[in-house]
């Protein structure tokens, strides 16, 4: 694949959208009624009209978009970086200052979007002009580029020099103020479109993305037939009223709020803030006593219970008491088939059949006859999803029956009662001392210790005793 960075590809589209939006802001800034108040600025002995200060720009942005100073500085800063506003005093420093530094609006002729991408020919003419106007005024990198261009477009060099001379002649006939302004504008344009080496290149677009509906995917009749089929199915689906769905988000966020460390903090402290890993240690995959928040979460949904190794172990214990542990074992075995290695599927399906589905099996699971028949039929040609229906049936059986009873059981209630509620460690406890940040055993170490071949590690808790390199200062 070739990366043609000059082609009018996807990033052209992306940038043009941004340019248009920035231009809207610029136009609004210059609005006679709601725009900024401009004034004359003194540049040495010349008076430049229609200028404004950095402070003016920021105040206007704060007022217009109802944002804070920092954000206004940022937005204004982007306008300067992209060349829509340029500094009068230090033209090479494309930075917005929140003070009396004077700035001016770039003329639309020199907006980056107007003639984009900037052409080599125009750049050559610009450098030629600079060279002619004051011998040796070109900077080092400009001199290099100038000679490179001279080699590359040598065939049009007469034209370049002619154009340069013509433009210089025309500018001599302008008033000094206008001439200075035009020079500033042109310089700003080229600082952005041909940044000096090492300077931040705002126009760096990265990888080329295609035009709208590129030819990578052929929009043939197959494509449209699929679209139509998809639409027909979508039209037939059941939808739920917004009021019901959206209420669900409110409830979910409320339920999980205490468990969200970014919203509510976490106990004893957030490791990233305090440099103390106690929170992670207390919440490892397997711990002797889990935290209260963790045990509470098991009651939020059946999936939460099953996703937690301790939760799943507790549930298994409960099912064993109820003599229905085979359900969870069956479910786990099905998960293993679904997510395990392709090469082991046939063997695993056979094992599952022998242990759970065959008549008189040691751990026979109770599936309705329709699903059983379908599954047994499917087993004749085993594939990854052959157990799906049976697995779902058992899953919902556990979810609707055993799970709610587990939550009401003494087993769960005791778990909740003896769960730890860590003490909060305030950061002030470690005011000046920078805590040592200790490494943890890499999960990759667990590979040598795992005997099961299902690719799921036992977690950091079980890893080896050799710690990797010590603390980091």
């Amino acid at each position: 694949m070739t990366i043609n960075t000059l082609a009018k590809g996807g990033w052209y589209r992306e940038q043009m959208t941004c340019f248009r939006k920035m231009e809207k802001v610029i136009v609004a800034m210059q609005d006679p009624d709601m725009g900024m108040k401009m004034r004359n600025q003194r540049l040495l002995i010349t008076v430049i009209p229609h200028a404004m200060t950095g402070r003016d720009v920021i105040d206007w942005l704060i007022q217009k978009y109802n944002i804070c100073e920092e954000e206004a500085l940022h937005v204004g800063g982007m306008l300067v970086r992209y060349g829509y506003i340029y500094p009068l005093k230090e033209p090479r420093s494309l930075v917005l200052r929140a003070d009396e530094t004077p700035y001016r609006f770039q003329t639309p002729y020199f907006w980056t979007s107007t003639r984009w991408p900037a052409s080599e020919l125009d750049y050559a003419i610009y450098l030629a002009k600079k060279n002619i106007r004051k011998q040796g005024e070109l900077m080092e990198y400009e001199k290099e580029r100038y000679s490179l261009l001279h080699k590359r477009i040598n065939h049009t060099w007469d034209f370049v020099v002619m154009q340069a001379r013509e433009q210089l002649r025309a500018s001599k006939q302008r008033r000094k103020a206008d001439r200075i302004v035009l020079e500033c504008q042109e310089q700003a344009y080229w600082l952005i479109n041909r940044p000096p080496p090492g300077a931040h290149n705002v126009l760096d677009m990265g990888l080329e993305k295609p035009n709208n509906f590129s030819l990578r995917v052929t929009l043939n009749s197959d494509y449209y037939k699929r679209e139509i089929e998809s639409c027909r199915r979508a039209l037939g689906r059941n939808r739920v009223k917004s009021s019901i769905c959206l209420e669900g988000f409110v409830k979910f966020s409320e339920q999980y709020q205490n468990h969200d460390p970014i919203m509510q903090g976490c106990l004893p402290s957030n490791p990233w803030i305090s440099d103390d890993t106690a929170h992670w240690t207390m919440n490892s995959e397997i711990v002797p006593v889990p935290t209260r928040l963790r045990v509470e979460r098991w009651s939020f949904s059946f999936m939460e219970l099953l996703n937690d190794p301790i939760g799943r172990r507790e549930f298994m214990t409960y099912l064993e008491k109820e003599f229905s542990a085979e359900n969870l074992c069956f479910w786990q075995a099905c998960e293993d088939i679904r997510h395990g290695e392709s090469s082991k599927i046939i063997q695993k399906v056979e094992d599952v059949y022998k242990n759970f589905l065959a008549p008189g099996a040691a751990r026979w699971v109770n599936i309705d006859s329709k699903t059983m028949d379908k599954t047994l039929e499917g087993i004749k040609h085993p594939h990854r999803f052959v157990m799906d229906d049976a697995q779902l049936h058992i899953y919902f059986l556990m979810k609707k029956d055993s799970y709610p009873r587990y939550l009401k059981s003494d087993l769960y209630k005791n778990m909740l009662a003896k769960a730890i509620v860590p003490q909060e460690t305030k950061k002030s406890v470690f005011p000046f001392m920078r805590r040592q940040r200790h490494s943890s055993p890499s999960p990759a170490q667990a590979v040598t210790q795992v005997t099961e071949e299902d690719g799921r590690a036992m977690g950091a808790g079980k890893a080896g005793t050799n710690s990797a390199a010590g603390s980091h200062v």
Binding site: G10, R13, E14, T17, M22, V25, Y65, I67, E71, M78, D204, L207, P210, F213, S214, R216, V217, L219, S221, R226, E227, S230, R233, L235, V240, K241, S242, C245, L246, E247, G248, F249, V250, F252, S253, E254, Q255, Y256, Q257, H259, D260, P261, I262, P271, H279, W280, M303, H339, G340, E341, S342, Y395, R437, S440, P443, G455, R456, A457, S471, H472
Partner: protein
């Protein structure tokens, strides 16, 4: 013959006389060479299909609008507003020599893998900021990387059109590249990859307009997903009970929800005005958020089957490269092309905070598995952990 077929499709009553009259008219036209006739017919069919597709889409939007009886922020009026929001950079990871393009967290909540433009893939312990492994890919622009659920391997790919899996070895002398395993093969660049529930399967999306599910062990293609009209840029797996769906977003401005088993597109949303760079499921799995070049993030509810919120602000001009939810789903973090991170209140639709720090585009953003922090990667060559 042709008239009858069309009539049946559009369920219009077809009167026999009309049909014969039409046939007579057709037969009266001057003789056209056989090939051209077929071509004309094909073009007509294509145009018809396109029109039918568009008509159905408008009808779908009408149906979707019928059940939309309230806005999210209205429902959220009773919810308490969020107070002052303070998040800072807690770690800065320096080591990439070029633009950071992608990152992913390890399940151990502190390790991460990151990839960059110069082909480097680095595994860090973000807590200590130590680099633990480094691999140099044979291609540049490694746009996708993912950590295996076991923590024992990483997957990555980019301009090589492939997704390769590297088992992580703790032997410092071992060359990781030696054990590399080529898993996925596309006909264009790899834009995103993700392991499913285990180390054994990988889901990929590509610039060739498709997504695909692969068996890691054999490299076999298990399922492919066709339906996007242009490059697919991102994907995310659903955290659902049945674990069978995922969402993808692309340059065609569409976000598609797929059934992993059948390969079918079960839901499709087309409300963005530009490329969708990032999609992420809401923690309950009932919705997903998207971030686009049109400078907005949007929330799509899967049960209501429609867009239910737009997160945008007039002062935000640049596109969103990456989005993720906080653990409770109350906050949506967006990394933007203007080097900032905007934090949104998902329920109320308001912008809670704007975070500065990066010196170039934020290209990737992920919340850690336990929600204690989020990590951003940027074109300024660094990664930052925020908490």
């Amino acid at each position: 013959m042709k008239m009858h077929y069309l009539a049946a499709q559009y369920s219009r009553p077809c009167v026999a006389e009309d049909a014969t009259r039409a046939e007579k008219i057709y037969m009266r036209s001057p003789p056209i060479p056989e090939m051209a006739t077929q071509e004309v017919q094909l073009n007509e069919t294509l145009a018809h299909l396109k029109t039918e597709s568009e008509t159905l889409k408008s009808k779908l939007e009408e149906e979707r609008a019928k059940l939309h009886d309230v806005e999210l922020h209205q429902v959220a009026e009773k919810v308490e507003g969020l107070g002052q929001f303070v998040m800072k950079t807690r770690r800065t990871l320096k080591g990439h020599g070029n633009k950071v393009l992608c990152m992913d967290w390890c399940k151990d909540k502190r390790r991460i893998v990151s990839s960059s433009q110069d082909g480097k893939v680095i595994v860090w312990d973000a807590f200590t900021t130590n680099k633990e492994h480094a691999v140099t890919m044979p291609c540049t622009w490694v746009m996708a990387c993912a950590y295996a659920p076991s923590g024992c391997a990483v997957a990555c790919g980019g301009l090589d059109n492939k997704c390769s899996v590297y088992p992580l070895s703790l032997d410092k002398n071992e060359n990781l590249a030696a054990k590399k395993k080529s898993v996925a093969m596309h006909t264009n660049y790899l834009s995103a990859c993700s392991f499913t529930n285990s180390d054994m399967q990988i889901l990929t999306s590509s610039g060739d307009g498709t997504c695909a599910l692969w068996d890691v062990e054999s490299g076999q293609l298990l399922q492919s997903f066709h339906g996007h009209a242009a490059d697919v840029l991102c994907l995310d797996l659903a955290p659902s009970e049945t674990g069978n769906t995922f969402v993808s977003g692309g340059c065609d401005k569409k976000a598609n929800v797929w059934d992993m088993r059948s390969g079918q597109c079960i839901q499709s949303f087309e409300t963005h005005e530009s490329d969708i760079n990032s999609v992420r499921y809401y923690p309950s799995g009932d919705a997903f958020a998207s971030g686009s070049d049109d400078a907005t993030c949007r929330l799509y509810d899967l049960r209501a089957d429609r867009e239910v919120a737009i997160y945008s602000k007039e002062s935000i001009i640049f596109g969103v490269s990456s989005v993720d939810f906080s653990l409770s789903g109350r906050l949506l973090f967006g990394g933007y092309n203007d080097y900032t991170i905007n934090v949104w209140d998902v329920l109320k639709g308001t912008r809670v905070s704007i975070l500065f720090g990066h010196e170039n585009r934020v290209s990737t953003l992920r919340v850690s598995p336990d929600g204690t922090a989020f990590c951003t990667g940027s074109w300024d060559h660094t990664l930052r952990i925020w908490a």
